[in-house]
């Protein structure tokens, strides 16, 4: 068994990265390495229909012909794709929705992470407290999805991707790979070949999803990659708010997380997608270990007046490389991107968004707050483009970077392409350090240096935190503080 | 002078004016009061010809001449002046250059002779002094970095320089302290004459203490719902717009 034993006491002693514990859970692994047989193995493990296997094998063929990209401002040793496990699942066969059959160790993991998997735990709170449904993905598989019945009553489908492929093949076939094509990029292509699980959401026309949906991703196994795939479809005039959270144990070797998220909005529909990403960032001094977070997230605003809003709080991972984007195809559709990216220690982040205005009167708004500390590097990279037909397209971008310390780096790389005379793009960016005057002012009033930094940083990121669902905003604010511990002084 | 009949106008998809009728004879000052969103600013933009304000029915004439068929600058040359609620900043164009360009364009449109530079400067100095405007300010880019009060004073200065026949004051009192309000009102009152008329658009009665109207109209729901003498403004100040909002 690959998992390393660690006690709960050790967990409590982990100050910096409190989700760094490893759980000893019996698991099934696919043999190490990557070839067409592994792809077949994954597909067979999940009892997939023939068309799905064909899709995966096609992706694998294409992937073999592609080269790893190198344009981002990140540095890392070449990844050995043969030295990783592409499938890891808890051993017990998990009955969908039957929580009692889930390995108690797994339940313990989620309890430690503060994720409610028992519906009554959520309900036990104060009457009127916000409720949210959870899909828990543990390494390669979804272990449980809560509140499915209640959601089904209003027609909302919320289940694991594996289940969707079996139970809703017509929807999966219709939408999978239509936003992020199989060979879109190197990592998305790899994902298409070996993706293990993820969440699937379909909200029918006119339905406002009655609760927040969320997926909680956990990488546990050693030497394993996680390749989840999420697909959310908001049909006409529907609304859904979705949140994903991610953690992983502290390990010395790097683990690859190459997810794909596809969102589709039809006429008048809206998806609000929030991410709190706290994968293990690696050792703050040596930079050893940590997750490579190479993710492709894209929304296709197909319908007129449809809307997608991405909010992300990126504090973890040793390398983050992601650009949640919006294709604004529908007339009057709009896209938003709110981001907080914090790097400390030896972390590297290259993140931003693409707002591609294709339809008339489309709108987009980008608010990005980057904070670099330690010896980290933090890059905002973004594209705003208006095509000749996108008359009346509007974009506003505000892109601020804060530097804490002498050895970190902050970069801003916006691309702006206006291809018609009726588009209006505005972009502002600033790079500054934490103001000593403000720090002194706060400390003179009695705050410690750490408290003062926290206070000022909270002010800096407030605009983005406000976009998160309330209960997560509080959590995210704590995360911001933890991520910057030890960065001053 | 100004005659508006059964005016209907849309902004985008929204119908804002729904059959507005109004007569303002030469020599008179009329006030238009009304709740927020009644269509007060829309009326001023429709009369001056702003893009995006679509007239769907009805008409408006100035001295019998159809206003709606004219370009904004042609209406200005006919003597129609709008004092903007939020005057625009024009970076890179000194106020004096802007006003002289406008004055000569209007004169040209009326087949009058252009004003000479010395004549123009003399006039500008005189009017600036009357309005207590620092002449140096007129050399700066128009309205750029000016306070709210300075911008409003600059509107009145342009009004004095261009000497229009029909004046529309759109919320001219907003953002003004008492001293500025007095200076601005004095400037406006100085322009009162038997061959000029004014339409004073305001939410509050306060401005009408300084610029005394002959008639007061209540605009609600896109139409004039009540008209009366100056006492109507006082009544509105006391009782609010609720009664009229309902009537609309």
């Amino acid at each position: 068994m690959a998992a390393v034993k660690q006690t709960v006491d050790q967990v409590a002693s982990l100050e910096k990265y409190k989700h760094g514990f490893v759980s000893d859970i019996e698991q099934d692994f696919a043999p190490k390495g990557l070839n067409a047989d592994i792809v077949r193995f994954i597909s067979a493990k999940k009892n997939e229909p023939e068309w799905m296997l064909a899709w995966r094998l096609d992706a694998f063929e294409r992937w073999l012909a592609m080269d790893e990209p190198d344009w981002a401002k990140v540095n890392f040793p070449r990844i050995d794709y043969q030295d990783s496990y592409y499938y890891a699942a808890p051993k017990e066969k998990v009955g969908i929705g039957s929580l009692d059959e889930v390995d108690p160790e797994i339940l313990e993991v989620y309890k430690k992470l503060g994720i409610p998997l028992r519906e009554q735990e959520v309900l036990a709170g104060v009457v009127g407290a916000p409720r949210y449904a959870v899909d828990a993905v543990f390494d390669s598989v979804s272990v449980v999805t809560t509140f499915k019945k209640e959601l089904a009553q209003v027609g909302v489908i919320f289940c694991s991707m594996s289940e969707a492929i079996r139970e809703h093949p017509e929807l999966v076939k219709q939408y999978l790979g239509t936003v992020v094509p199989v060979s879109d990029n190197y990592f998305a292509c790899l994902n298409a070949a070996v993706f293990s699980d993820g969440s699937f959401v379909y909200v029918p026309p006119g339905v406002r999803c009655p609760m927040e949906l969320s997926t909680y991703f956990r990488i546990n196994a050693e030497n394993s990659g996680q390749f989840e795939r999420t697909l959310i479809i908001a049909d006409k005039a529907s609304y859904v708010s979705y949140l994903e959270g991610c953690t992983a144990p502290m390990r010395d070797e790097n683990q690859l997380h190459a997810a794909v998220v596809e969102l589709v909005t039809m006429d008048d529909a809206e998806i609000k997608y929030s991410t709190v990403q706290n994968w293990y960032p690696g050792d703050p001094v040596t930079g050893k270990g940590g997750i490579y977070n190479f993710v492709t997230k894209r929304a296709d605003c197909r319908g007129d007046r449809s809307k997608v809003s991405w909010t992300q709080v990126e504090t973890g991972s040793s390398i983050t490389w992601k650009y949640p984007s919006c294709i604004l195809r529908g007339e009057g559709s709009s896209g938003e991107f709110y981001s907080i990216a914090i790097t400390n220690g030896r972390q590297q982040a290259d993140t931003g968004t693409k707002m591609i205005h294709l339809g008339a009167n489309t709108r987009s708004r980008i608010i990005s707050k980057g904070i670099s500390a330690g010896r980290s590097s933090n890059t905002y990279r973004g594209l705003v483009s208006a095509h000749p037909k996108a008359k009346g397209a509007r974009n506003f971008t505000q892109c601020d970077s804060l530097l804490i310390g002498k050895h970190c780096a902050a970069h801003t790389v916006p691309y702006i392409e206006a291809r018609n005379g009726q588009a209006k793009f505005e972009h502002e960016a600033t790079t500054t350090r934490l103001s000593e005057d403000q720090l002194f002012y706060a400390m003179q009033r009695g705050l410690s240096q750490e408290e003062a930094v926290q206070l000022l940083v909270n002010g800096f990121v407030k605009e983005v935190l406000q976009e998160l669902p309330m209960e997560f905003a509080v959590e995210a604010q704590k995360l911001v503080a933890i991520s910057l511990e030890g960065s001053v002084g | 002078m100004l005659s508006v009949s059964n005016l209907h106008a849309t902004v985008g998809e929204a119908q804002i004016l729904k059959g507005l009728t109004l007569e303002v004879p030469a020599g008179e000052v009329h006030a238009i009061m009304g709740p927020n969103g009644a269509g007060k600013s829309t009326l001023s933009y429709v009369l001056t010809g702003r893009q995006g304000y679509e007239v769907t029915e009805g008409g408006a004439t100035l001295d019998g001449e159809d206003l709606l068929a004219l370009e904004p600058n042609e209406r200005a040359a006919k003597g129609l002046f709008l004092s903007f609620q939020y005057p625009l900043e024009i970076p890179g164009v000194p106020a004096l250059t802007f006003i002289r360009t406008a004055l000569n364009a209007q004169r040209k449109a009326r087949s009058e002779k252009e004003i000479t530079a010395p004549e123009f400067l003399k006039l500008a100095r005189q009017k600036a002094a009357e309005l207590k405007i620092d002449f140096e300010m007129l050399k700066r880019a128009l309205n750029v970095g000016f306070s709210g009060g300075e911008k409003k004073r600059m509107e009145i200065f342009q009004m004095a320089m261009l000497s229009p026949r029909f004046l529309i004051l759109d919320e001219t009192d907003s953002g003004l302290d008492i001293d500025a309000l007095r200076i601005v009102s004095d400037g406006v009152n100085a322009l009162r004459s038997p061959d000029r008329a004014m339409l004073v658009i305001t939410h509050y009665q306060r401005l009408l203490d300084y610029i005394k109207p002959d008639r007061v109209h209540v605009l609600a729901g896109g139409r004039i719902v009540a008209s009366g003498g100056p006492e109507l403004a006082l009544e509105l100040e006391r009782d609010g717009y609720d009664r009229y909002a309902k009537a609309a």
Binding site: T412, G421, A429 | N73, F81, P87, L88, L103
Partner: protein, 340 residues
Amino acid sequence: MSVAAAIRTRDVGELPSRRDEDWRWTDLRGLIRVLPAPSESFAGTLAAGPFDRLAIDHHVLVNGGDARIDVAAGKKTLAALRLVSRGAGAHASRVTINLAAGARLRLLESYESDGASVCQTALTITLAEGAALERIVLAEDHEDAVSVSQAEVRLSPTSDFGQTIVTSGARRQRIETRASHPGGRASARMDGVYLLAGKRHADHTTVVTHDGVDGTTNQLIKGVARDQARGVFQGKIVVSEGADRTDARMGHHALILSDRAEVDAKPELEIYADDVSCAHGNTVGAMDEEALFYARQRGIPEAEARAMLTEAFIGQVIDRIWFEDARRVVRNWAAERLRV
């Protein structure tokens, strides 16, 4: 791979293409199928250049060649530098400019082509301590010309470098300035204006690298694109580790005055020091309709109001030219092109 090498070897494979990140919006390989033969030497007489009447020293390169301008310590001069292309050949020019300590130079540079030439100019400009250089560039290329100008500027502490590049574009045109900035109270101004019509293209690319403490850079680029023209701005400010108290501002603002014109911009900051104040702003769009309406409400006809507002928009860059006589030449040049 470089434009100069392509001209020398006549190998189009040497030309940069849109696959090169730095040339993504100024593709030369996709445009030029065959490089023209080397330009012949020119024997005719030239008409006056745009700055002839202002300059004391005159340097004229027709269809390539080398030029050198040296200004001795504490001396001051006013030089016109004309880079002229006659005919449809290919050629490269090299210009070396040295300012000794405390020297001052006003450099009035012009690019003048009259046909489908392909030309490249490499300038190496060095400023010693306390030197001051104002470089004013007027690029009046032919609509069929392909023109690339690449300047390397080395500043020293306490030197002042200011440039204003004014261009009406070409079939494809790139004007590039790479400045190494030592800080030490040296300052760099990197301004530019592009006024493009027809199918013309102009690319302003600048990179300023701050390597020492207490440096300032200020940049304002404004452009107007009409018809099917394309304006490109790539500005990059790098602040190296330790280059504290760097103050760098970059602004790029463009008006697109037709449905089919295009403006591409990449204002980039690459910062490795924490005690800095850097900012950039970028706006692209149509003319402000509210300002236009305001001017028309005061009686100014539409065409005149548009010209007035466009001139004022561009004028904010021209006003930053220190040398008043050159400012006047540039302002008239711009007005002629805007009042159409």
